[in-house]
């Protein structure tokens, strides 16, 4: 029953986003601010994580397949590329962003709720859901796929560098693998996944913060819930998208 009450309120929140903005310019300004927060604010962590994930993927894949002399060396580049694009870049990056950007959104909105700033906006006549949550979701849907694309590229770079350092295959073989059987659809799927995950992170985190009641303890709990629920929904939707798109 509790779940249905929250789900109903979540749907009402989503419906409340679709109202005519009081001043389009103000909504766009807020969207740009959020894009900067999510994009610039998360760039460093995404860069570091992606480089190492790519490097570790390459090393561990090499360890598994090169005991078998029948597997050609260029397979390493191929496997690193497809694993990164199809799974690691969108899913791993978005799990990190759920912790970084999601908890930030939740605590910012929760703090605004507790200190009556949201009430102040409501009394002014501003559509608070549309003004505070709409730009966050839009910014996330625009910026997170960009971050995921960058993460994919950096992962592959990380894989290439680690392969060079460890000497499993030559640079030429790795690049040959990258160019073998490339499917543009995989990149499309990566972007679709990133957009879905972005929507889930921004909407679930905003929901948790926007409707928080109580004080600082409840605010902390709301931020934790925002991260946990976002992560679970990312993994669940990842599976659903994979089943629908790849079967």
């Amino acid at each position: 029953m509790h779940f249905f009450a929250h789900f109903g309120q979540y749907l009402l929140m989503i419906r409340a986003l679709f109202v005519k903005p009081e001043q389009f310019r103000m909504y766009w300004r807020e969207t740009l601010r959020q894009m900067e927060d999510i994009g610039v604010g998360s760039f460093l962590i995404i860069t570091v994580v992606s480089l190492f994930i790519g490097a570790v993927t390459a090393v561990q894949t090499a360890y598994q397949i090169f005991g078998n002399s029948l597997v050609p060396g260029y397979y390493l580049g191929w496997i690193v590329r497809d694993t990164t694009i199809l799974e690691l870049a969108p899913t791993f990056s978005c799990l990190i962003l759920a912790g970084k950007a999601g908890s930030n959104m939740s605590s910012e909105l929760g703090n605004m709720r507790i200190s009556e700033q949201i009430d102040a906006l409501t009394i002014m006549g501003i559509s608070t859901e549309a003004y505070l949550i709409g730009p966050r979701i839009l910014a996330a849907i625009i910026v997170i796929p960009m971050l995921v694309a960058v993460a994919a590229m950096l992962s592959i770079v990380g894989g290439y560098v680690s392969t060079m350092v460890s000497g499993y295959v030559t640079g030429g073989e790795f690049v040959h693998g990258l160019l073998t059987s490339f499917k543009g659809f995989n990149v499309q799927l990566m972007i679709i996944k990133a957009m879905v995950f972005a929507f889930l992170i921004a909407s679930v985190s905003s929901y948790q913060g926007f409707y928080v009641r109580g004080g600082s303890v409840e605010l902390g709990q709301a931020s934790t819930r925002a991260v946990v629920y976002s992560c679970i929904l990312i993994l669940l939707s990842d599976y659903v998208i994979a089943v629908i798109a790849l079967n």
Binding site: E22, Q23, R25, M26, N111, M112, S115, E116, Q117, D119, A120, T122, I123, M124, G125, I126, S127
Partner: protein
């Protein structure tokens, strides 16, 4: 003018407002007075639509707020200014941006026109030159003034203040009261103030409404309140700091001798034997 009719509001089994009705006239400061937990904040939140009453009407110049559609409610909200207990300033915005926000959102004025209006209201509340400061860089009293500036920047017809003096020293509280009353008269605003501060009541209570356990208990003005025969109101007045303040003022008027006499009367007896009457010593 704002009229409320038979407002009822419960949270679970707890009935917080039990059929409250009142009229608040324009150009007057009307005070809703009551102890903590009497339902003042719930009532004011029902009046501005932050909470929906279980039953009853809130009429803004005969327009029933809760029977209007969303767009019409929004129109009324743009006519409302609200000063929150904690000022509710946006922490990430400067003082200027805080006051500018309603103008940015609801007007198509040029930047220069908007800034001129912001400077005008900041000057009106005595805060010239603080435009670039952030809420964390100003005092509680200044934050309240910025809250008032933001509330009046769009020329509201209705002004609500929730505990405007809480957390302020008596001097600053008095100045905030005076400012609210001046603005009310100057712009003929309908002002409703929630308070439990008897000093405010005696200072600006042109119309006073005493709320007790969710019910309207007494209505009058500051000149009538000390002569009221209501038992709950008497208890509230006697429990407030106001009488202490009045006592201090009387003592001050009586000069140092009066203060010494009062102190001597209240000095705890260190040696009971010495303090006992002569007749009891024998």
């Amino acid at each position: 003018m704002i009229q409320i009719r038979d407002i009822r509001k419960s949270f679970g089994n707890q009935e917080v407002l039990k059929g409250v009705s009142a009229d608040f006239e324009s150009g007057k400061t009307s005070l809703i007075m009551g102890a903590s937990g009497s339902g003042k904040t719930v009532l004011i939140k029902c009046m501005v639509g932050l909470l929906k009453p279980d039953s009853g009407q809130v009429l803004y110049n005969n327009r029933d707020f809760f029977s209007l559609n969303g767009a019409e409610q929004k129109k009324i909200r743009t006519e409302i200014g609200f000063l929150f207990q904690g000022a509710a300033l946006f922490n990430s915005l400067s003082v200027e941006q805080n006051v500018l926000l309603p103008l940015d959102m609801f007007t198509n004025w040029t930047r220069a026109e908007k800034l001129a209006r912001v400077n005008e209201v900041l000057e009106r509340v005595g805060l010239e030159g603080v435009n670039p400061k952030f809420p964390s860089e100003i005092s509680g009293g200044m934050a309240k003034r910025v809250g008032i500036a933001r509330a009046i920047v769009q020329h509201p017809r209705y002004l609500f203040c929730d505990e405007p003096n809480s957390g302020l020293d008596p001097g600053t509280a008095g100045r905030i009261d005076e400012l609210i009353q001046e603005l009310t008269r100057e712009f003929n605003i309908t002002t409703v103030i929630n308070t439990h501060d008897m000093n405010s009541v005696m200072e600006i209570g042109e119309s006073v409404f005493f709320l007790y356990k969710g019910e309207k208990r007494w209505v009058g003005n500051k000149d009538e309140i000390l002569g009221s025969k209501d038992e709950a109101l008497d208890k509230f007045i006697f429990a407030s700091d106001f009488l202490q303040d009045a006592k201090h003022a009387m003592l001050k008027q009586g000069g140092r001798d009066a203060i010494r006499r009062e102190m001597a009367r209240n000095v705890p007896v260190a040696n009971p034997e010495a303090a006992a009457p002569e007749s009891s010593k024998s």
